[in-house]
């Protein structure tokens, strides 16, 4: 049996809310299929599954927010025996064995608990939240539910537990942008505190690249044109392929070299916030495909809808701030990556365009 758990989609993520299941119990799934939509502080993510098999059981309901690592579903892998024994064909069943009906469907409001269990008023609370309440010593009767229909969610129980521990602080309702700023601040603070940063800088003659770009775009109609950024991304990708030691992440106390080059692009989000999703196999993409994927990625990042592999796979982060006159950028490493590359405005030095690029390794 394989477990599908709430993935960590970014070093700063501690929990996620299941929005909806995209597959049901009994569905056959393949590695790479999207199994669920999960809401994080940064975006709604389509979560891909890495097992091939059949979904046997689902343990988390839509609208539930759970910590990363929580088992959300059980998958019976291909080739393994089913948990329920099937009678041999030779038997004469008057009643045919049918698969259990799906236990999840569209987002539903959970049935109210039986008063007999509680010995009190009927409570609108899910079994998972009820168990958490018991574990944390919270009486659900005292908790106000914020879920659909006033249901008490796991988050409500967690808040109640927090409130018990700490003196109550006036907590303004934070919108997604504000929450995102908080978690980015936390991640960057941690990065600066724990990762020794050092910086290398070089000035690059961009005249040939820019001349090539101008010539190329002259030949292309608007929809096919390339932006300067894709040249930077491709250059970084090729450099990483040549020097694989830099294409690494820090995991479990050691450097792990990554097999693929997936350049993470820092994308500013409208209304504030930043996300750095990956362009998979950046080194293998043609310039045209890179431009198409880059453009699509930015659009989806800004629309708040990315795939989980785009968030978990970047092997380096690239920042480009050349648009508004910034001359140099000294980036902060976004863990668990071990390097960050930042470039800024190219300007003419002695008549030839030079771009400045900084690389900050760990």
């Amino acid at each position: 049996m394989a477990e599908f758990v709430m993935p960590q989609l970014g070093a700063d993520m501690t929990s996620g809310k299941l929005l909806r299941w995209r597959k049901n119990v009994g569905d056959r799934i393949q590695r790479g299929d999207v199994i669920a939509d999960v809401e994080t502080d940064k975006a709604d993510i389509e979560v891909e599954v890495f097992t091939t098999g059949v979904i046997e059981k689902v343990l988390v309901q839509p609208e539930e927010k759970v910590p990363i690592g929580t088992v959300m579903a059980i998958i019976r892998e291909e080739g393994k025996a089913a948990a329920v024994a099937v009678p041999p064909v030779s038997a004469v069943p008057a009643i045919a064995l049918v698969p259990a009906p799906p236990t999840i469907a569209a987002p539903t409001v959970s049935a109210p608990s039986s008063p007999a269990e509680m010995g009190g008023p009927r409570l609108h609370i899910s079994p998972v939240a009820r168990k958490l309440a018991a574990d944390l010593g919270i009486d659900p009767v005292t908790v106000t539910g914020t879920g659909p229909g006033g249901r008490i969610t796991m988050e409500d129980i967690e808040h109640a537990a927090q409130a018990k521990k700490a003196p109550p602080v006036a907590e303004a309702t934070l919108d997604r942008a504000a929450r995102m700023r908080q978690i980015i601040a936390a991640a960057m603070t941690r990065s600066k505190r724990e990762i020794p940063h050092y910086y290398l800088s070089t000035t690059i003659d961009m005249s040939r690249a820019l001349a090539w770009l101008t010539q190329e775009n002259l030949k292309r109609s608007v929809e096919q044109r390339l932006v300067y950024g894709v040249l930077l991304l491709k250059a970084v990708a090729l450099a990483l392929r040549e020097i694989p030691e830099l294409n690494s992440v820090w995991s479990n106390g050691k450097v792990m070299q990554c097999p693929d080059v997936n350049v993470g692009v820092a994308v500013s989000l409208r209304g504030g916030g930043l996300v750095a999703p990956a362009l998979h196999h950046t080194d293998h993409l043609s310039i045209d495909d890179l431009m198409k994927n880059f453009s699509g990625l930015i659009q989806r990042a800004r629309a708040g809808s990315l795939r989980s592999s785009e968030l978990s796979d970047p092997t380096i982060t690239v920042t480009s701030l050349g648009e508004q006159g910034v001359e140099a950028v000294f980036g902060i490493i976004y863990p668990p990556r071990s390097h960050s590359s930042a470039s800024a405005r190219s300007r003419n030095i002695h008549g030839r365009p030079r771009g400045r690029s900084h690389r900050g390794p760990c």
Partner: protein, 83 residues
Amino acid sequence: MSRDEIKSVVLRVLGRIVPEADMQQLKPDRRLRDQLDIDSMDLLNFIVGLHKELRVEIPEADYARLATLDGCVDYLAAHQSGS
């Protein structure tokens, strides 16, 4: 197309790229990039949007003429097919 019609197309295309902006507050003679938070990708999408709506080919060398709202309207009015 009249200048007003062109202006309204320009604002509509811009509105899709910068949905949070208040187009009524836009100063027509100031650079768009000084008034709105747009980067090179946004600019390209803007040009593509104008091309799709108005069927005008805009070479890269002419992008600078579209720096302001007035500049956009002037350019697009002058380059309309048939004019």
